[in-house]
Amino acid sequence: MRYRHMTAIFAATVALNFAAPASAVDLEVTHWWTSGGEAAAVGEFAKAFDATGNKWVDGAIAGSGGTARPIMISRITGGDPMGATQFNHGRQAEELVEAGLMRDLTDLATKEKWAEIVHPKSLLDSCTLDGKIYCVPVNIHSWQWLWLSNAAFEKAGVAVPKNWDEFVAAGPALEKAGIVPLALGGQPWQSAGAFDVLMVAIAGKDVFMKVFGDKDAEVAAGPEIAKVFKAADDARKMAKGSNVQDWNQATNLVITGKAGGQIMGDWAQGEFQVAGQVAGKDYTCLPGLGVNEIISTGGDAFYFPLLEDEEKSKAQEALASSMLDPTTQVAFNLKKGSLPVRGDVDLGAANDCMKKGLDILAKGNVIPGTDQLMSQDTQKQKEDLFSEFFANPSITPEDAQKRFAEIIASAD
């Protein structure tokens, strides 16, 4: 009896080993994708990873990256890392890589020819340190979009604007109809992001690169940026009365026609999709605010902390490669509303807005994301400035510009 029991266990173990040569490994993946569209998208990654015979253990932390990143970083520096974790493209994980806490993916990347498939190349560059690759870019998110509610403009009796100036001109009509012209959530990153978008649209690519890329304080204090602050002042007046915190609540104001428009990245797309709205019919999107059709190529990347467990390390590589798989890329990005990082996949199912984005991307009208250009520290100072500026009408555009130039002068 006892003997048979033992053999049964033995047989079971063997069978299991044969059934799945790379035996199933639980890999914990942390991220901050918790809105409706985001959760649906991340489900595609989980599905693809589970199909490799491993198991995705979801470690979602709600409340945007600001809440989630400290937890991820504490876990990694505390010596109890997760299997994989999301960060934004750019410099958020720079020091963790330098400290040798992240897995070097160079071998995998060479084997799978990431250098050839990832497009634009700048994405892989931000994953690279001293010639070695430490992360997998999974999507391209661009900030430079104005989302408009067709229903809101209909109600106000004005045509749906085609660019920022028309939108500003339509403001009073919207207000009269009891509609908040511009939805803007209270989270600081939204105000800072909106300003950056205005800068690209109004001052153009070169000025943007001079200010955020070269940290040129003189340009930041100059007349070009003064124009941007004037526009931000308009935006501030139009955003009065939004009274929401989260970005997707602000998007929801646009979806329900309570607000005219919102400056938000293309991730807002996912929310329109979840709400069953159709691009062009229910809502309109204007890349580059309809002024300057340029998009930034920020986005999300996954990093893989160095683990001692051999099995888990293998699973990490399986996850990394499944994330770049063409089918996963298409499925994930369609749900997320972002653009794939591979130029060679077919996004036939993409809607109007995504097609516009793909078009601009193909033309090469791109700039790096601000997370790639500046440290989190500078980003936070900008957030403090703009959240104050957008909430407090007593700060003049001139004062704000002076403070902005100071931040740029000391930026890194």
Binding site: T34, S35, G59, A60, A62, T77, G78, D246
Partner: protein
């Protein structure tokens, strides 16, 4: 002993605590429907309404459907009672890919709270006892540092503690978190226990020592049995504090052992389209239920214990 008030309190001594102190000591009422009584009860009822209103709003909101919330008045009772928000909050609300609501966090919270409460109180009671009855050189300095520690924002200590836990190999484990809770509960608890044990009559302590009882013998045989009221206070404070903790729970553990408050944050902050206020409110009440029950059940024991621990000193 320059302070007459302290002398006075010390003189009234331990007996005052030992007998029931829950009887009001104020001026005596005279007639039932006097102007004084109308004023008194009127004020009390008014204030009680202010304190109860938020709970009432939470409760009725959690029983309404979303359409009713959008149209209606937050104070009006639900037209159509639905328990769906409660079910959703407990069992199906999603964070990312996990759609099992608060239920996964409940037992984690229990597993975290029980050892943390036991350890922190055991340590603090011994501390208080040593400080009150076995004073040694330098004890006051450590105690002062501890009291100053009560004012240090938790955020400041996050990083050093991450490093310490990493070095002793407890980062990410349940025991790491238990130690963190014990550390941050220590200042206030030690203060309470110290005050309480100070009020124990000196004679009792001296008599025990004449009989040859040592440090631990006196602690277990004399102090512990007398300290029930202050233990009740400590348990209440710690259960609420630890149960309600979010920051340590999320930083010093892993997702599989996240406490309930982390799930609450996740549910409340995971906006899927529209904010579901009814689910949020149900989740909020569910998370607060354990400490609430502890409060309602402990009733006058709490005041009695507080009287014992805070009054003397």
């Amino acid at each position: 002993m320059s302070d007459p008030a302290a002398l006075n309190v010390a003189a009234s001594g331990f007996e005052a605590v030992a007998k029931d102190v829950s009887d009001p000591r104020g001026a005596k009422p005279r007639r039932v429907l006097s102007r004084r009584n109308i004023f008194l009860y009127g004020t009390l009822i008014l204030i009680a309404v202010y304190y109860l209103l938020p709970l009432y709003v939470m409760f009725v909101t959690s029983l309404k459907g979303m359409p009713e919330i959008r149209l209606g008045n937050i104070f009006s009772p639900p037209v159509e009672i639905t328990f769906e928000p409660w079910v959703k909050a407990w069992a199906t609300a999603c964070t990312g890919l996990n759609c099992d609501g608060l239920s996964r966090g409940f037992w984690n919270s229990v597993r975290i709270t029980i050892p943390s409460v036991v350890l922190s109180i055991a340590v603090a009671s011994v501390n208080g006892y040593a400080l009150a009855n076995w004073r040694f050189k330098g004890a006051d300095i450590f105690f002062t540092i501890l009291i100053v520690g009560a004012f240090i924002p938790y955020q400041v200590m996050i990083y050093p503690i991450v490093i310490i836990l990493r070095e002793i190999g407890l980062y990410g484990s349940l025991w790491g978190l238990v130690i963190v809770h014990s550390i941050f509960g220590m200042p206030i608890l030690t203060l309470l226990f110290r005050n309480y044990f100070t009020s124990v009559p000196e004679e009792l302590f001296k008599a025990a020592r004449v009989d040859g009882a040592g440090f631990w013998a006196i602690y277990f045989k004399i102090m512990l049995p007398m300290a029930l009221p202050i233990f009740v206070v400590a348990i209440i404070l710690q259960v609420t504090g630890i149960w309600n903790d979010f920051l340590f729970g999320v930083i010093y553990t892993k997702p599989e052992s996240y406490p309930m408050t982390v799930q609450l944050n996740n549910i409340v902050n995971s906006v899927q389209g529209v904010k579901e206020y009814n689910v949020n409110m149900a989740a909020t009440i569910l998370t607060g239920l354990v400490p609430l029950i502890v409060y309602f059940a402990s009733g006058r024991l709490f005041v009695r214990g507080i009287a014992a621990g805070a009054v003397k000193g």
